[in-house]
């Protein structure tokens, strides 16, 4: 596997949109060719080389390409967006849309990521060692097709509106989350190891949410069923099982009504 190392050398005045930092785009390119790729600051088009030093070279294929992005990336958006294979490692904090619409490959963010990380994710493995902002693994604004597949793991805390319109895949948050978890969820699994606040599973029709810590305010559309013993993300424990959201339309499968499931660790 060949590695390309990007180190930020100049901070943009506005924010930098770098949809081109993916193994798919870098594959088969030399350091010079990578430096000549377009990035956008406001409505102006610049080259990657104006803001980053580029070392190393990409592999022949995207699967054979690893990208390391280093430095203060708090003004850099869209790193690893739409990647389908290969590896990206971010050493530092990055801004919005990190790994958005990702379809495959591995993205490791060693630090915090901004809002909309893993937005509309379709596959792959996104791991954030720090905190994530709002709309983690959510659907794009207005869309009814949220995260479809893949694993999105955040070791720290996450903001509000995570997993909106989620249809598949897994979101695991090590710490606490803010309001609105799995709104309109239609599948997939959300695990929160820390505390939740309010509006968890609002309008969800299918899928699972596990909360290890406390829930400040329970949605009124959820009904308690029973206590169950489960193993969730390597932790064995007893959970209170709720179904919901009862205010929504629910489909049927083999005569059984399908509900969303909310599990609260005892």
């Amino acid at each position: 596997m060949n590695t390309v190392v990007l180190t930020i050398s100049k901070q943009p005045e506005l924010y930098l949109e770098t949809e081109n930092i993916t193994p798919d785009v870098f594959a088969g390119k030399s350091a010079e060719e990578i430096a000549a790729l377009n990035v956008y600051e406001g409505n102006l088009t610049h080259t990657l080389g104006e803001y980053f030093t580029v070392a190393g070279g990409a592999g022949d294929t995207a699967a054979d390409t690893r990208i390391e992005v280093k430095g203060d990336l708090t003004r850099v958006k869209w790193i690893g967006a739409k990647m389908t294979t290969g590896e990206v490692v971010i050493e530092g904090d990055s801004d919005m849309y990190t790994g958005a619409f990702m379809e495959g490959g591995k993205l490791l963010a060693k630090g915090n990521v901004g809002h909309f990380a893993g937005l509309g994710m379709k596959g792959g493995d996104l791991h954030v060692t720090g905190n994530a902002g709002n709309y983690l693994g959510a659907a794009y604004r207005g869309d009814w097709r949220g995260m479809m597949s893949g694993v999105l793991r955040v070791d720290g805390n996450a903001g509000s509106d995570i997993g909106t319109f989620m249809r598949g895949g897994e979101i695991i948050v090590g710490g606490d989350v803010d309001v609105h978890v799995g709104t309109h969820q239609e599948g997939g699994k959300i695990v929160v190891k820390g505390n939740g606040k309010s509006k968890i599973g609002g309008q969800m029709v299918k899928g699972d949410i596990y909360i290890f810590g406390s829930i400040d305010v329970m949605m009124p559309g959820f009904a308690y069923r029973e206590n169950v013993d489960l193993e969730v993300d390597g932790v064995k424990a007893t959970f209170e099982h709720y179904i919901g959201d009862l205010g929504e339309r629910h489909g049927k499968s083999k005569g059984e009504t399908i509900y969303g499931h909310l599990y609260k660790k005892l």
């Binding site: 409505n43 088009t45 659907a139 794009y140 604004r141 207005g142 869309d143 009814w144 339309r249």
Partner: protein
């Protein structure tokens, strides 16, 4: 203004009967001239390409409040279709409801020089004109909607054609409108009471008038005013299985009425997106739903004073939007996606719903088949117009794909073979029996000469004869050597190599190099307001409208900075 001569192309022009002949077309002072008159012309090399007059789209939606609601409720529509600004060209965005800039650029790339915004709520005419003003290059007009208008319904209840006509003339003048649009006559108003009008004989609640009276009355008022365009109808029961009988009954309202105008227009009724109105059966299930395109076309082919456009389903994800509020409500309950409905006081209403015509379903492919059948069964191609009712049945940039399906039986069969329910569609529709392939000449009739004459603009658009507007398009398609692959048709009609609009070079070798000097067409009918109408308008504004009459009129200086006014005197 520069002179141009387009050399050596295969010229296709139904009006002069030139069919793929190699000849030169010259443009001088914004108009087509005889090639011998262009002495200092810049040469455009069109060898190996098709040359046509600028296209004319008589029914699409690109400006106005419902288009904007579509943009507002669908931010995700902007995820695809972004093109960065380049040179003079502004940024483009959006897929099914593009930005104003993109609308103009997409139409230009397809070689269209004129587009009609097919539904303008009079109360929101200012907004519609502001958006039209911002759409570059393409000349436009807008049709105010009248079919659910309180004034119109009350006059027509008493068969007062003169008052109806007088009101229409006033409204066209104050809204800078072009002609009469009539959507779900009576039904949209009925929807305000939770009802609908499903046939032409269902009375409108609280108004005691029937859709048939509205259709007939508006046709008569249109001919009374001698307007350039005929009455533009979207009949009742759009999209409902079994609706073809309602459609034929609505078309029959035009029987015995003769066109009366100075624009060479023969038809008195244009039925829009006929595809949505040619269904048999009782439900959308494949064992019930069937095509009735042949039955509808048997009637249309026998009626010389009717024209229609296809409303071709393109099997895309799109955004439906229509002044037919009840239809949008039903649609939202079919796909459970987001939905917006609006009522426009006294005048009309509208609804917006995102929709996916999935090729994996029976019904979407059947709708696709029915649209094509209508065009392929037509005898007179001047009376058939190519549209997708954009964006209702498909985004506007799919016109080239529709042309491909019309010109190639192979392309149609490939689609049916790859569709999951292709055989079922062959079974329930007529598409499998049709081997007709339209010629370039027939496509030019459907997109140019026919549409221009239906709009009463055949003296300006739709042909390359001397004296016409200098709208010339060069498509990279060689009719002698490129006939092997239908994809070449689709590419060519979506990527004009050169495009002259009003004598200006807009597209040079595939690149947009100018934003043109677009005009807004409107019709100034000289008919005076009758005393009755004058009193009614003033009284209604005081009593019911939320705006005053002063805040209603569209002032030319700001809203229509570059007008083209067609002056009309009634008989």
């Amino acid at each position: 203004m520069a002179e141009y001569i387009v050399k050596n192309g295969f010229v296709v022009d139904p009006v002069t009967g030139v069919n793929c002949e190699k000849m030169d077309v010259a443009v001088k002072n914004g108009k087509i001239v005889d090639a011998s008159e262009a002495k200092k012309a810049k040469v455009i090399d069109a060898s190996g390409c098709v040359v046509m007059a600028g296209g004319v789209d008589l029914h699409s939606h690109s400006a106005g409040p419902k288009v904007n609601v579509g943009r507002n409720i669908r931010p995700e529509d902007k995820l695809t279709g972004k093109v960065a600004a380049k040179g003079v060209k502004r940024m483009e965005a959006g897929f099914s409801v593009p930005t104003t800039s993109k609308s103009g650029y997409v139409l230009s790339r397809m070689g269209y020089g004129f587009a009609m915004e097919a539904a303008m709520p009079p109360l929101y005419a200012r907004h519609t004109h502001e958006e039209m003003r911002d759409i570059p290059i393409v000349d436009m007009g807008a049709l105010p909607v009248f079919g659910n208008n309180w004034f119109v319904m009350e006059y027509l209840k008493n068969n007062e054609i003169e008052n109806t006509a007088s009101y229409i003339a006033w409204l066209l003048r104050v809204t800078k409108g072009y002609g009469i649009k009539n959507v779900n006559p009576g039904g949209t108003e009925a929807w305000g009471w939770g009802m609908n009008c499903l046939t032409p004989d269902d009375p409108v609640p609280y108004f005691d008038v029937t859709p048939k009276q509205i259709i007939k009355g508006l046709i008569e008022a249109n001919e009374y005013l001698r307007l350039p365009h005929c009455m533009h109808l979207h009949s009742n029961s759009l999209g409902e299985p079994g609706n073809y009988e309602t459609t034929i009954a609505s078309l029959k309202c035009a029987e015995g009425i003769k066109a009366n105008n100075d624009f060479g227009r023969e038809q008195v009724l244009h039925h829009t997106h006929l595809q949505f109105h040619s269904y048999g059966g009782e439900s959308y299930a494949s064992k019930s739903f069937e095509s009735k395109s042949k039955e509808v076309m048997d009637y249309v082919n026998s009626a010389p004073n009717i024209s229609f456009d296809m409303g071709q389903v393109t099997l895309d994800e799109t955004t439906t939007m229509t002044a037919d509020g009840p239809f949008e409500y039903h649609l939202s309950h079919m796909n459970h996606l987001k939905w917006a409905n609006t009522d426009v006081e006294l005048e009309t209403a509208a609804g917006v719903v995102p929709f996916i015509y999935s090729p994996k379903t029976f019904i979407a492919v059947a709708q696709w088949a029915i649209g094509l059948e209508l065009a392929l069964y037509a005898k007179n191609m001047e009376k058939v117009n190519l549209t997708t009712d954009a964006p209702n049945a498909g985004p506007i940039h799919r016109y080239p794909r529709v042309i491909k399906w019309l010109m190639s039986e192979k392309a149609r069969n490939d689609l049916l073979d790859s569709a999951k329910y292709g055989d079922k569609v062959r079974d329930r529709c007529y598409i499998g029996e049709i081997d007709r392939e339209l010629t370039l000449m027939e496509i030019a009739q459907m997109t140019r000469s026919g549409s221009a004459s239906c709009l009463g603009l055949s003296h300006m658009f739709g042909s390359l004869k001397p004296g016409m507007e200098g709208d010339v398009v060069v498509y990279p398609y060689n009719p002698e050597t490129d006939t092997d692959d239908p994809e070449k048709i689709e590419y060519a009609f979506g990527n004009a190599k050169y495009f002259l609009k009003g004598g200006d070079l807009i597209i040079d070798d595939g690149e947009i190099i100018s934003n043109g000097n677009k005009r807004t067409f409107w019709v100034n009918s000289k008919t005076e307001m009758t005393e009755q109408v004058e009193r009614d308008v003033s009284e209604r504004f005081k009593r019911y409208y939320t705006v005053s009459q002063n805040n209603y009129e569209v002032k030319e200086s700001h809203y229509v900075p570059n007008p083209y006014v067609i002056e009309v005197e009634s008989a």
